[in-house]
Symmetry: D2
Subunit: 361 residues, 4 copies
């Protein structure tokens, strides 16, 4: 490609923003145009993340509406890592000024405005944009990504859950009235901030469930599950979801409990069949890895990467299907999935700039 695509990142010094920078830094077709920060204007990106000293010394700009207009005019794509309620105001500004957007907030993830309102306790200033925004899970929506102006990057827990559930929902292999998702995240999921709750001495040697009722990702997962199951209203499925916080930096596991549908029961459910369903469904996906045999996912095997590993098992004693998935919450769960979506949006091979992002030891 002769001319690089100009990408800017609004909110580049949070963990998600910084991981987006990381991914684009080494992307062969991209030139990072602007990086903004609320707290560190005028400093270099490498002052905040000294890892990048000599590698990314771009000066951080502000992110006022004026800044964003200017940046949008000078960018092909703007990535926004802003709080919900802020994105809903800024994303339309960016689009009006000629750039496409990938947004990391919850503001453009829903099709049902009332579900958004209930989940985020906010009035959306531009509900008319929801129908055009595309949910940025390339495995399911890559065709729509090609032309969208607004990509809503999925939540980390939703990505982890939906990739594990999709084949079974799409093929009608599970009952949809009880989907239990028990998930665990590393601490980067809480963002980069001064908060005693995430201080080293509070999180180390600790483990806990949180947000056990009413976590926002519950409705996001439910709406997308409904779509995957063929319900265009997005309202038929309500999942049970519990997140947990564990003492590691990056990574996420979803352990999912579902019952086989009558149709699947008639076929005869086995662990091998579950593995085959996955292998068949994801055979052309480069970032979804179906583990062989009884191998179960581990965050260790996906960290730093855009990979998501899945496998499942059948427990005949309780007629229960267990599905497991592991991803990097900042990788496939956030920043690197955004780059995958970017590749899809701009007609590039979807793995461009992503395939060598893994951490071995």
């Amino acid at each position: 490609m002769d001319k690089k695509i100009k990408v800017s990142i609004i909110g580049s010094t949070g963990y998600v923003g910084a991981e987006v920078v990381h991914g684009f830094l080494f992307h062969p077709d991209v030139k990072i145009a602007h990086l903004t920060s609320q707290s560190f204007i005028g400093q270099k990106f490498s002052d905040i993340y000294p890892v990048y000293r000599g590698i990314c010394d771009i000066e951080l700009e502000g992110s006022s509406e004026e800044d964003i207009v200017r940046i949008a005019k000078d960018s092909d794509l703007v990535i926004t890592a802003l709080p919900h309620g802020v994105s809903s105001k800024m994303v339309p500004v960016i689009v009006e000024n000629g750039a496409r957007v990938i947004d990391h907030s919850g503001d453009f993830r829903y099709k049902n405005i009332e579900t958004y309102t209930k989940s985020y306790k906010l009035d959306h200033p531009h509900p008319e944009l929801l129908k055009d925004a595309v949910y940025g899970l390339p495995e399911f929506y890559r065709d729509q990504l090609k032309t969208t102006k607004i990509t809503a990057n999925p939540g980390c827990y939703p990505t982890c859950s939906l990739v594990a559930l999709a084949p079974f929902l799409k093929k009608g292999l599970i009952k949809t009235d009880m989907i239990i998702i028990d998930a665990t995240s590393g601490v980067t999921g809480a963002g980069r901030k001064s908060d005693l709750a995430y201080a080293y001495c509070e999180v180390d040697e600790a483990f806990k469930p949180y947000g056990a009722v009413g976590h926002r990702h519950t409705t996001e997962i439910s709406e997308q599950c409904s779509f995957l199951a063929g319900d265009e209203t997005g309202k038929s499925i309500n999942v049970t979801f519990t997140p947990h916080l564990a003492p590691f930096k990056r990574g996420m596991v979803a352990s999912i409990y579902v019952k086989p549908s009558d149709a699947f029961k008639a076929e005869g459910v086995t662990s091998e069949k579950i593995n085959e369903v996955y292998s068949d469904f994801y055979k052309d996906e480069q970032f979804v890895r179906v583990l062989p045999g009884k191998n179960l996912p581990d965050v260790k095997f996906v960290n730093g990467s855009n990979y998501i590993d899945v496998n499942g098992m059948y427990d005949p004693d309780t007629d229960m299907i267990k599905l497991f998935s592991a991803q990097d919450n900042l990788g496939k769960g956030a920043a690197l999935q955004a780059i995958q979506a970017f590749n899809a949006m701009f007609g590039l091979e979807e793995g461009t700039g992503l395939t060598n992002l893994v951490r071995g030891v």
Copy 2:
């Protein structure tokens, strides 16, 4: 008490054994008589655990059958932290030689011999002893503990699960055909051994499910759930159970998903009601702490101790009850529960030697 009770520990240098030593070292009514080890005979306990230098310099003895006969004769109680299949042979020897026993293996935890055989793939040399052995969860079996010769110390996952479930099973408040237990343990749960799977660089920054179908604790939990639900055969309930391994040393959380029974539904299920059920059921228990309001358990708050914290919530959108419990897998989940059972067995106040075992910061 004038005369100290003589306690010996067979297998004292594993993590469970060492934690038993820890508890008894500071127990006001106990004198540690003998400590054995398979690998470190002749060394001092403090050579293996230098924490105890100057505190517990007892010399480690062997644990051949001859040793065990001699030790049993010189002890009021023998704690065995031996592999299953070995305990079933040694425990009867101890009892014959005059000491009472608390055994940490799975060999005396079941009432149904066929469930044991299926779970452990072993023939039990003394199935006749199973009916007399008492399952060492003092909260449910303290009366039987007073007189038993053999106490089978419960598994860590079973203790964590059963304390959370008991009130609801005993009172018929949940459906028993679907009990899903998703649990996470610290690494001490794997024991003290040279095993690459538990090396620092393999476990740090990692998280994974394991033993997703057929983990032995599944049948132990199921049998005890059946008893708690009033089924004397111990066979009516089959739970769904998945353990996970997380990068911390001590601690365990169980996150449990159950449906309210029709009776409970008729009453009107709420999170407050669930909290009341717990508070009422455990109001006289000193080691079960019911967290107030929406507070959820955290391993951080129970580590080093015999406490187990519980709370629950109701999700009206999915008609699902979520129950949560946290304990120290080596504390209430193993060694310190054994000391609580010991206190019950020997007519001591149940908290003796246990109430100051907590870790603050």
Copy 3:
């Protein structure tokens, strides 16, 4: 003891304060009278540290000067865990109102007021009190502790360094013109606060030197080294000191490099001799453990406790003596040493309430 000693803690919810509470909770001769907090007035101590739910539910009071007067009148001892510059104002108030004090700040640790002023960049409002305050290292100052009104609890790095150096300084076995102390602390050393620098994701998998020139503990160590070497002015020795931050919660190691004095050289320096010097010097100290042979200290072996482990070696190739010590920075390095000093101040056996504070696994 018939009547318990009434102890109050000012600043009880920081890590040091909480560890003081921990120690006194289980101290047989103490009744905790008052706990204060700046941020959590009106809440229970166990709301802030849920570990202590049901164990220490004392309500937190404020710490205005008025509060402190009232608390001092109702206490035999007040422990202050206040910032430097605040302690220097409040400690005299406490003493005037009838209580003795153990202070955790740097405000009463120096004898040379100009060294304090230079190190802390503060004018001391009560320099006249410095000469009466006793440096609370019981191993060296236990006689003075018996009668003092003000005990200045030593810094964590100074305790770790001084215990390792004392025998060699007191006996003239090392040159005093070059003492290099390279030390590493766990993260609790930074205190309990919302500070991005100590967030889990910033500290995990990280390790760094900090404060490489001018760390305040340098002058505190230097003054005390001078006293130990027999220089009553406290000004003859200047140590070289570098602290490091490592990803664990509690614990501290000092690795010290010194040259043997001519006198020691004349005797013939060996690793065995160094070990003997320690063993002889500390033979009556219950909390200083001299490791045998070539065993080196590890924070793992002292955590949660008031123990400090030491050993040393001689490197004939470079004529260098290496001294090593490990302690819990919150234990012997702060809160538990305060309890040891308290025992000395109130005529109790020095190990009272401390000997069972160790963490095995």
Copy 4:
């Protein structure tokens, strides 16, 4: 480059070997020809490191002498990650069969055979090769690397120490009779093996010095320091060296204490001057980063990479220079430095395949 260079790795499943694989996998000019393993012959590399599933599924071969002959004939370069004593036998075999070698053991790092013998307690079967082997620190030996058949990849501690010391040794700015290196390594430094000493529960929340007298890297550092100081015999300098083990996976810090030479004193030593010395000396080095001002190195900023960060300070109170460096022990300290040396050996730009290897969050 039209034709890829064929590289094989002997001992590819240890942590160093696997990191070499990682680096070469994404190297634009390299084709990995063969991977061997002692324990996992016939399995795929990705069976051992599932991170690489779908990325590196190469089958692991054996490493008998016969295997090595065959592999050497089919490779342009062979990387050996073998134990010392084994390398000294196998490296000559590889060279005889036509491949160049980068060896990770200590067997070819010394010029003085007696120093090797004393340090490793081994007779070297091919002492005649030592003079031709090149010490693989490209910053100092890149010219010799161009033509060498045998590159001895430096030890991790030596690299970290020598890069920090070199400018001062080369320019005569420090006294050479006292060089104290206090260093700390992450746990990967101990290698990938089943060893209780490196089990998660033994290393987590622990920190200790080890090998305090006689660690092998001491003599390696000393010999190279002598060369850097201009002493061709390699025998004039003896450094004092103490390693520590800390609970993180990757990374290493060296904190070094030296005295300024009279010449440097005459100039006037300051922290700024020290920084200038570094900046000037390393101005053309892409992997040595001199931190500005008072910024000190942190392993967090170099992990996953071939970068090494340095800075120094002068303490006028004690006339002591402190030098600090941080690197990834597996990166610049081992595997990635080997790739940098490989680039030098094969006439490639030295940063090829290395510049995008950093870990941000």
